[in-house]
């Protein structure tokens, strides 16, 4: 690998890692608060991308507005999922997870039937041109992903560590029963967690819409990646998810460059399997006493 390719791959890894982080953090948060494992998280991402496709691609709104539109749309979807799937199956992680597999099917069909199946919906690139770093060229659209992801993660961190509701959310994740004793309403918290989780997935999808083929089935690849990241990081650990996302971003991108995409996927899956076997609680996860 020559130095130009190395730099290029390095840059691509960071882009991939940022987007994985945003997706996985949402998944980890929902799991952390009330053990909500969302199989349709990839479809949430897809809905975010379609929001941009519809608002920006079809209706011609400004791109940033279209991206921001993904927040209420997918957050609402998250809230509905909590209310109608996760809450009735709260006692059982597996049942909720399987039920959201049903939700994934529903969303794929709905979106596919309304905006077309099988066609790759291409969203016109809003920001043309590329950033040139001594021979390494990264499209502005990709460059944009990095600060956006950092901004989102920072906003989430600020919310969790400085807002009262964010602290309550963490309290819920650590000890739901005791949280109730402090007057914290668990149902409201789980709803909030799913809203944030959805908003993050939606934003990630919205940002990726111009650089990723938009299809009803684009969630498939995402969900596997997201679970690999979350399991490697330690299911409930947000910091772990970010660390694992960056790691996997590098692994995926480098293996893809050196070999091919299938091998990259296999290596990713193998990494997750190794972590599950050697350290089932994940890289930054804690063992519960």
């Amino acid at each position: 690998m020559d130095s130009a390719t190395l730099l290029q791959t390095f840059a691509n890894s960071i882009v991939a890692g940022s987007i994985y982080a945003v997706i996985a953090v949402g998944l980890a948060m929902a799991f952390g608060v009330m053990k909500m494992a969302n199989f349709a998280h990839g479809e949430f991402f897809m809905v975010g991308a379609y929001t941009v496709y519809v608002c920006y691609g079809l209706m011609g709104w400004p791109f940033p507005v279209a991206v921001l539109m993904a927040i209420p749309v997918v957050a609402l979807l998250g809230v509905a999922t909590e209310r109608f799937i996760f809450r009735p199956t709260r006692e059982n992680v597996l049942a909720g997870f399987m039920a959201t597999a049903g939700l994934a099917l529903i969303l794929q069909v709905l979106i596919g039937q309304i905006w077309g199946v099988g066609l790759m919906r291409s969203v016109p690139t809003p920001y043309m041109g590329a950033l040139d770093l001594g021979g390494v060229r990264i499209g502005w659209q990709r460059v944009l992903v990095i600060p956006s992801a950092i901004a989102m993660l920072f906003a989430l961190w600020y919310f969790l560590y400085h807002a009262k509701a964010g602290k309550a959310l963490r309290a819920c994740a650590q000890d739901p029963e005791t949280a109730r004793l402090q007057g914290i309403n668990i149902n409201r918290m789980t709803m909030l967690a799913m809203a944030i989780s959805g908003a993050l997935a939606g934003l990630a999808g919205a940002l990726m819409a111009p650089i990723h083929p938009v299809t009803p089935y684009m969630g498939h690849g995402i969900i596997l990646t997201a679970f690999i990241v979350v399991v490697m990081g330690g299911m409930e650990s947000i910091a772990g998810a970010i660390l694992a996302a960056v790691l996997l971003g590098f692994i995926h991108t480098f293996v893809t460059t050196l070999s091919d995409a299938v091998t990259a996927q296999m290596v990713g899956v193998a990494c997750m399997a190794v972590v599950l076997i050697v350290r089932p609680q994940g890289l930054l996860g804690r063992v519960k006493a």
Binding site: K167, R170, Q174, D175, T178, R180, L181, Q182, G183
Partner: protein, 234 residues
């Protein structure tokens, strides 16, 4: 102020509390003692709403509270320090205290109460940035008590505050409980350490396998051989 009337509580088909009646007056410490498995903790969980009673009535300031969710009961003015403390381990001491005041909106009042907590528990001021999970058992007990007090409760429920603590730490916690009562707090204390409970409380209820076997003033119960028997079996 708080009264339990013929309260029953079950786990599945097993009755853990079998029709107990308890009265708590304002500004007093009432203790519930008895050996492990007597139903003390279940009683506490039933009062604060974590466990729903199957029969009977729980009145707080004349209002029925049985069946309400714990967050509602907390809002009415009953705060609980659960058995085993249950601090939020990954939250700092300060954040734990903030969670205690979760439902309060009066910023000034919260600040005043926070200062009061720091005078009762000076160590918490010193360590307010530390993660609660990394503190010692006795310090965690203080965090849990201060957290409960931060909601400005009318009644404080303390479940086994001396559990697993060294005698020295137990004594320190006991002093704080006494002080809290002296400034007018109403406290329901569940203890396995009978001598500690007798020292603190004016009145006591002795529980045995889900029932109240004895009750009265602690000065009378203190030397009753029957109390000793429930504990030591001789």
């Amino acid at each position: 102020m708080l009264s339990l009337k013929d309260v029953w509580a079950h786990y599945g088909s097993v009755a853990a509390v079998k029709g107990i009646s308890v009265e708590v007056a304002e500004a007093e410490i009432v203790t519930l003692i008895g050996s492990n498995g007597a139903g003390k903790t279940t009683t506490m969980r039933t009062i604060c709403g974590l466990h729903k009673p199957t029969k009977g009535e729980i009145l707080f300031e004349g209002k029925r509270i049985n069946g309400l969710d714990p967050e509602k009961i907390n809002a009415l003015g009953i705060a609980m320090v659960p058995e085993g403390r249950h601090v939020f381990p990954q939250l700092t001491v300060m954040e734990n205290l903030e969670m205690g005041a979760y439902l309060r909106k009066d910023a000034a009042g919260i600040r005043r109460d926070l200062e009061e907590m720091f005078t009762h528990f000076p160590i918490l001021k010193e360590r307010h940035k530390q993660l609660a999970g990394t503190m010692s058992g006795g310090q965690q007990q203080m965090v849990a008590m201060a957290r409960a007090l931060m909601s400005g409760p009318k009644v404080l429920l303390l479940d086994e505050p001396s559990l697993g603590l060294s005698p020295l730490m137990t004594q320190q916690i006991a002093k704080i409980i006494k002080k809290l009562n002296e400034i007018g707090r109403t406290i329901v204390l569940v203890e396995q350490n009978a001598r500690l409970a007798f020292l603190l409380a004016k009145r006591a209820y002795v529980m045995e396998i889900g029932r109240i076997s004895m009750s009265g003033l602690t000065v009378d119960l203190k030397d009753d051989p029957k109390v000793r028997e429930t504990y030591l079996g001789v």
